[in-house]
């Protein structure tokens, strides 16, 4: 299923090899990115590998993976940095070996990456806040279940949400954010605790796929009706929840697109073509009303 499909052709010699080091590997979002990358690679006749650490706290593991990727002398590297400063010396190393680096998912500081294919998570989270505030008529208690408190996406999606609410929705009271590691069961348990201690909670925001689904499960298990949920990312459970109305809506990025764009940009650079400095892969609000819209359906992953 992996990039190894073309391994047979690897002997050909002129097949280009792109080593992709992502922030994760096992989770849906990353599998969707991987899928996009593979599709694009197949189209362009390139070979890729796709790796990422077990959790988004494993920064050292990611740095080691990047080291190993460079050791393989790829034609280009795709990199989603957990902490871009930690990787800086390695990126220098890549540069000195003339291996172009394409950043994706989130930005890498400095000018080494030839381009960055990423989502503006803060803006995306603000969008989620805006929708939730509208759903609640601008008032009520709102809770946040976030995947973690130190990763850039975690912080941006929390802060983007919180800042928008503070600035635009004076009637909304925010409860302190809780962190469930993106684990569905743990996020569900947290949601139930939130409901128990705040029976009047009106809306809950889940900041990534695992958190959002956890919130849905938690509310179902608590047997509570009428709480508005907004989420992030997609995945089958989330899509189902939106279709049946349990979840009001969610922000989706375009993970498959991120994967495609990363590989496409890499190939361009390898061929010596020029690429824009930033590729905004965008985000969308989706809910019951537009979920079947082809433009939306295309960016959702099951």
């Amino acid at each position: 299923a992996c990039g190894g499909d073309e391994d047979g052709a690897a002997g050909g010699g002129d097949q280009k090899y792109i080593a992709i080091v992502s922030k994760g590997f096992q989770h849906q979002f990353w599998q969707a990115v991987k899928k996009g990358a593979e599709q694009q690679a197949a189209k362009e006749g390139a070979r890729i590998t796709f790796e990422g650490p077990a959790t988004e706290a494993d920064i050292e593991a990611q740095v080691t993976m990047l080291t190993n990727a460079i050791a393989k002398n790829p034609d280009a590297i795709g990199f989603a940095a957990l902490d871009s400063k930690a990787a800086a010396p390695l990126l220098e190393d890549a540069k000195s070996r003339n291996i172009p680096v394409i950043a994706f998912d989130s930005g890498v500081e400095g000018d080494i990456p030839v381009t960055t294919a990423a989502t503006d998570n803060k803006a995306a989270a603000a969008e989620a806040a805006k929708h939730l505030s509208e759903l609640l008529g601008g008032k009520g208690k709102v809770a946040l279940v976030v995947h973690d408190q130190t990763s850039k996406t975690g912080i941006d999606r929390r802060d983007g949400f919180v800042e928008w609410m503070k600035a635009n929705a004076p009637g909304i009271t925010l409860l302190p954010p809780q962190y469930g590691g993106g684990d569905q069961a743990k996020s569900a348990d947290i949601t139930k605790s939130i409901i128990a201690s705040n029976p009047d909670v009106a809306g809950i925001y889940g900041a990534n796929e695992g958190s959002a689904i956890g919130v849905v499960k938690g509310i179902e298990e608590a047997g509570k009706k009428g709480i508005k949920i907004v989420g992030f990312d997609s995945g089958k459970a989330q899509i189902d929840a939106i279709k049946d109305g349990t979840m009001a809506g969610a922000i989706t990025q375009n993970p498959v697109g991120i994967g495609e764009q990363t590989v496409a940009a890499a190939m361009k650079v390898i061929r010596g073509e020029s690429v824009p400095k930033v590729i905004d892969t965008g985000f969308f609000w989706y809910d019951k009303t537009n979920i079947d819209d082809p433009k939306i359906a295309a960016v959702l992953y099951q």
Binding site: F25, S197, G223
Partner: protein, 331 residues
Amino acid sequence: MTTPTATTETQPVAGGVSLSLRDRLQQFLAFASLLVIFVVFSIANSNFLTYGNVLAILYSTVVIGTLALGTTFVIITGGIDLSIGTGMALCAVMSGVMIVNLGVPLALGVLGTILFGGLLGLINGFNVAILKIPPFIATLAMMLVAQGLALVLSHSTPIYFNDVPAYSKISRGNLIPDFPNAVIVLTAMAVIAAVLLNKTILGRYTYSIGSNEEATGLSGIDVRKWKIIVYTFAGLFIGLAGVMISARLGSAQPATGMGYELQAIAAVVIGGTSLAGGKGSVVGTMIGALIISVLNNGLQIMSIPQEWQNVILGCVILVAVYADMMRKKQT
């Protein structure tokens, strides 16, 4: 370290009545730390002691509790099982593959998953008992293998049980009104585990092996066989935990599981089972698991900032275990 403390059992048993009274007091006091924690939270926050919240606590204990029950046996033999977390994820995936992908009937699929867990345990048991690989290594290897296989078998995507609505009922259904099935399952498992540990030869040899493996072997008991049985038995619980978590989530999540082993082992050890083997109880394990989930829940209910929750959790566990040791010394 050098002070042998006489246990209650060294006392000549005066008579049926006084023994059972003593015993009952003992049993009751085993809950002391848990009770104290519970009462403190109840006083501190009025939202804590509600039917719904207590159920939520119990419900959140199910998966860890199930894993901890099987692991109790392994730890009493002096072993350890690190593969329970990712093994559970692999079992959940197997359940999905059988029931969703292959269309195996529900009951059969569930049974198959539990047996598949048993198979993982059997392999652990073989590696430990026959190849004599230290349990830590044998089950660490299984942890890694299971983690990988869960991704391979599921093609790294969750398997959803949407078309099998009955599956979720295993966890969320209410055979007893307003009481989730998962809690019934955990209770039943605890009873079964307690009976097996205290009333059967399996339990006896479990203690015996942990107490002195060599002497047990010299007494003519086939230590290898019984160790394999114990690991296999723990494996059945891994399988069941796989069913319970996927039923709860409505999907088999191949990437989950890592870290559950530490929590389950912690529950067992907080419950007074010694990692050196020979000592331990099912009641203790359930108390240990509950202490963890009550603390998690209570600290969240009290809206303690999350970075402080772990700090407090750590301190309370320390104090609870210390208090429990002091209590045992006294009686």
